[in-house]
Amino acid sequence: MARFLRLAFFALIARPIALVVLGLNLRHRERLPLDGPAIVAANHNSHLDTLVLMSLFPLKLLPKLRPVAAADYFTVNPLLAWFSLNVIGILPIKREAKGGVDPLKPCEMALDRGEILVLFPEGSRGEPEVMGRFKRGIAVLAARRPHVPVTPIFLHGLGKALPKDDPILVPFFCDVFIGEPMFGNLEQAVFMTELTTRMQSLASELPRELAAETPAETPTETPYRPEES
């Protein structure tokens, strides 16, 4: 039943929203992993991010797609918890490691089952259209499963379409740029620098007007500013 609901939700709601209402400007599709185990890591601005990333994969991979999400946000309200766990199929993790519980353990187990993890290394949606600092959890996870490819994906425009503070979806074409996969055989700091660099180089593929609108011209709009790390 849940399996059927999940398929119906993605085929009839998530995909039409991602592909018709929004519309994706997708670059380098061939770099997407074809099967699990794999990790895709994207910048995070909107609840739509997860739906868009999941819509990139063929429906037959849907049972393997697991967005990694904060347990404290998504599993507190029972209705949201049911929806997130059964329809979206999130993999809930605890953001704070307490009492010796390893927060990355569920992720490792999922990868060992051959699943594809959808991960947002920023941890939260943050300021709309501003890329925050990446947390190192992803480097730790990649190091523990060094054979699993980590594919960076740069998203742009979704924070405009459905930002954190507004429930109304306004259609915009969104950019989805997929980077070359990398592996966890690097030192943690090197891995994080490399991931950030790849994200920024993907971000630099944007047309210049959109990539950096000068504050003097559009004082009220938050310009896109990749954070230095």
Partner: protein
């Protein structure tokens, strides 16, 4: 199946597919003769034509209502592309939402044939409503730019393009030969044909640049050759598809040729201002939807009012 088309319109549609078949044949031949050359761009361009013509023809053949819905969808894609390209203020999200809602409303006026509302809804009512909505939000920094650019885009992508849809609901008895579909086919074909003709003339004879600051590849030779060809084709086609008679037919062709050029460079100027090459990547080989409908945004209203004044 072809109930919505007159025999002339159906035959013309078949002719369009004949031309596409010829184009695909030429590309296939070129690939055989020059196996080392890359025809990827040309190939995807022709393939995209097949898809666009196929979807359009299917809608036209099935029912006028379906065609109106199809054209509303084209308007939606064009407006969305425009709003995704230009800088918008975060504060105006709700206003943009209203602008999108104008599309179903505008095409509904078309579907019920309410000419009075169709012709003033966007230029009058939305012209006042959207800025009012912006003012109520209260953000004055960048107000003129935001209000101005939103209305400009709405006029171009929704108001102007919806004229093509209104051709479908004009009284049938005026145009027994071509029917409603005949008018749209005439406009659509000549506009796209004019683009191609100007390109081909420019490519073969082009020497003198016509508007180098905006569109460096456009030449006087392409412009004049294209317009002349379009005028002649319009003259030949008009009796079968439209109620235009005598001098009206070549004049319609001239109008479409001229307006198509202006509509094209109008979007070129927009793209140059924004510092982009293509307006999007929706249509492989063509760019975005605005790159494809650029000429139509000018030819549709001008051809419509030319025809409307003379015959309806």
């Amino acid at each position: 199946m072809f109930s919505a088309l007159t025999p002339n319109a159906a035959a013309f549609l078949a002719g369009i597919f004949g031309i596409l078949l010829l184009a695909s044949g030429i590309v296939f031949g070129l690939k055989r003769v020059h196996p080392n050359k890359d025809y990827g761009e040309l190939n995807s361009r022709v393939n995209s034509w097949w898809v666009m013509a196929g979807v359009f023809a299917a809608a036209m053949a099935l029912s006028p209502t379906l065609s109106i819905i199809f054209l509303a969808l084209v308007s939606f894609l064009a407006l969305k592309e425009y709003l995704s390209l230009i800088p918008t203020r975060r504060a105006d999200r709700r206003v943009l939402f209203w602008a999108y809602l104008a599309i179903p409303a505008q095409f509904y006026w078309v579907a019920i044939g309410w000419y009075g509302m169709f012709i003033i809804f966007i230029p009058v009512y939305l012209f006042m409503f959207l800025p009012m909505r912006m003012v109520l939000i209260g953000d004055t920094a960048g107000f003129l730019r935001a209000a101005g650019s939103l209305h400009w885009g709405l006029m171009l992508t929704v108001f102007n393009l919806s004229h093509m849809a209104f051709l479908l609901v004009l009284p049938q008895d005026v145009n027994p030969a071509g029917g409603a579909a005949g008018l749209v086919l005439f406009l659509m074909f000549l506009t796209q044909f004019n683009d191609v003709a100007q390109y081909v003339w420019g490519k073969t004879l082009g020497k003198h640049k016509i508007i180098p600051k905006v569109s460096p590849k456009k030449t006087w030779e392409g412009f004049l050759g294209g317009i002349l060809t379009t005028t002649l084709i319009a003259w030949a086609l008009a009796p079968y598809l439209t109620p235009l008679v005598g001098w009206e037919a070549p004049l319609a062709g001239l109008l479409i040729g001229l307006a198509g050029f202006v509509g094209d460079v109008n979007i070129s100027a927009l793209k140059r201002d924004l510092g982009i090459k293509d307006s999007g990547s929706l249509i492989p080989g063509h760019g975005g939807i605005l790159d494809r409908v650029d000429s139509l945004t000018f030819t549709a209203p001008l051809f419509f009012h030319f025809l409307y004044y003379l015959h309806y």
